[in-house]
């Protein structure tokens, strides 16, 4: 029951935020997908003959990496600022604050769906089997729980340590380059070892295997993604629950 009311409130907040963001805009939803699509076209133009030469279905490989990373980056960046942005309401009404982070995640999923639809259209145009699509909701579900956990941690810590907001802008950019989005790891052992500590590598790897290459991902990759998700959500709730009582007086 608590989960139901939490999801209900998250959904209401997400709807309101979404309407607010699009209010009076002529192009509305197009703005959401424009960013990742432009990044995609740009990188495709630059790399398709070089880095992407040896990668099968490079456009799909690239686009999937971009939209998944985008989902992670948008949610966590927005969550970092969430508590101080909603300070007025936090000081006036007692409500489950986790729902603020839930709403940000839901909002990001919504625009992600549009991005992934474009991916599916390109997938179809390559004439590849579409059966992998059936598994994507499951991957996305687990991925979002992971993102929600990270967002809980960042949003709570940022109340105490406001520099985190700026650090994350840089750190997430570094992570963008460290994650094999527009290149592949191949035989580079060092890069591979580094990416074992990068949860995003696991999720993107799984999605690419299933959606593009129609392969079942290696067991250790699946276990790795589940492990990171578990760690993220547990630490997320622990940190958030421990710190949330002070939010109203800190912001």
């Amino acid at each position: 029951m608590r989960l139901k009311s939490f999801l209900g409130l998250s959904l209401s907040l997400a709807k309101a935020e979404f309407k607010l963001k699009n209010e009076g805009s002529y192009f509305g939803i197009i703005w959401y997908i424009l960013g990742p699509i432009l990044t995609f076209l740009l990188l495709l133009g630059i790399f398709s003959d070089r880095l992407g030469n040896n990668i099968a279905y490079y456009p799909l490989y690239l686009l999937l990496g971009i939209v998944m990373f985008n989902l992670f980056q948008n949610t966590t960046t927005e969550a970092t600022k969430a508590i101080s942005i909603h300070r007025g309401i936090i000081k006036s009404i007692k409500f489950p604050l986790e729902a603020l982070i839930g709403s940000i995640t839901l909002k990001a999923i919504f625009s992600h769906i549009f991005e992934i639809l474009i991916f599916f259209i390109i997938l179809k145009s390559f004439g590849l089997p579409l059966v992998g699509i059936l598994f994507y909701p499951l991957i996305l579900g687990v991925f979002c729980i992971f993102i929600f956990g990270v967002s809980l941690i960042f949003s709570a810590l940022n109340v105490y340590f406001v520099d985190l907001e700026n650090i994350w802008v840089f750190a997430s950019r570094v992570l963008w380059f460290a994650t094999p989005i527009f290149y592949e790891i191949g035989n580079q052992t060092k890069l591979f070892l580094i990416n074992l500590f990068n949860p995003l590598y696991f999720f993107i790897e799984i999605s690419r295997s299933i959606l593009i290459y129609n392969k079942i991902p290696d067991t250790w990759v699946i276990l790795g993604s589940l492990g990171y998700t578990l760690i993220s959500i547990i630490i997320g709730f622990l940190v958030f629950n421990r710190l949330k009582h002070k939010f109203a007086e800190m912001v």
Partner: protein, 250 residues
């Protein structure tokens, strides 16, 4: 007569805050603070050993000068702030109207705002849809369902906030300076609504500077000064004490 339920029980509740202040610092510390935004902090005590019991059907007035800790008290009761010591027990659904900020968004329509605020107060979408006609009828805003809030007058927004809160089945209603809502006829209507809510077993804690209102509406009152409860009991006596304290009455 309904059996009285203890809705709120505060035992020796204290609350401190850290506030920024300017202290004499060394030259080096000042240079460092040019780059970093951190400031020096000290503790101030906002509530000192407050004990209070409130029962169903009661409306309790809270009076005191600005900065005496009245709003902090409401936030501690509602659970927005956590007390540093003492115990806070509440029994019933809490609805807080603190400075009428209930999360309304200027750029959203009234309908969207009712859904948003209703969910923040813990109502499901279905329940909100059922109560929507009654909410806008009470606020006398039937014609403006799709109008965005930035085009509302402040009186209209206040009426709307009040109406939403009243339709969320409060069992413990925390009102902070919100009685100055609307014109004479709306005020009369809100008084009646408040009375209905009290009769149905709710408790109301009412913070205000409108002493006439306290005298007229509140069964009893408490006076807070510098975080301490220095009087409690019959509203008229507490008001007299307050007026003496601030030097209006000799």
């Amino acid at each position: 007569m309904m059996e009285k339920i203890e809705r709120i029980s505060l035992k020796k509740v204290s609350k401190k805050f850290k506030i920024g202040f300017k202290k004499n610092r060394s030259f080096l510390a000042r240079i460092i603070s040019l780059f970093s935004g951190r400031e020096s902090k000290k503790d101030i005590v906002c509530l000192k050993d407050i004990s209070l019991n409130a029962y169903s059907g009661e409306m309790i007035g809270v009076i005191g000068s600005n900065g005496s800790g009245k709003s902090t008290l409401l936030r501690v009761i509602s659970g927005i702030y956590k007390q540093d010591s003492g115990t806070v027990k509440t029994n019933g659904k809490i609805i807080s109207l603190i400075n009428l900020n209930i999360g309304m968004q200027d750029r959203l329509s009234m309908k969207d705002n009712i859904y948003l605020c209703g969910s923040l107060f813990g109502l499901g979408r279905k329940t909100i849809a059922e109560r929507l006609p009654s909410i806008i009828k009470f606020a006398e805003l039937e014609e403006y369902l799709e109008t965005k809030l930035y085009q509302f007058s402040s009186g209209m927004i206040q009426r709307l906030a009040f109406s939403i809160a009243m339709h969320c089945n409060p069992e413990i209603l925390l009102l902070d300076e919100v009685f100055e809502v609307g014109d004479e006829s709306f005020r009369k209507k809100s008084q009646e609504k408040i009375k209905n809510i009290l009769d149905s077993g709710a408790t109301i804690i009412f913070v205000t500077h409108d002493l006439e209102n306290v005298k007229y509406n509140c069964n009893r009152s408490i006076l807070i000064n510098d975080g301490e409860m220095i009087a409690s009991g019959n509203s008229e006596e507490v008001i007299t004490k307050y007026l003496k304290l601030i030097g209006v009455l000799k």
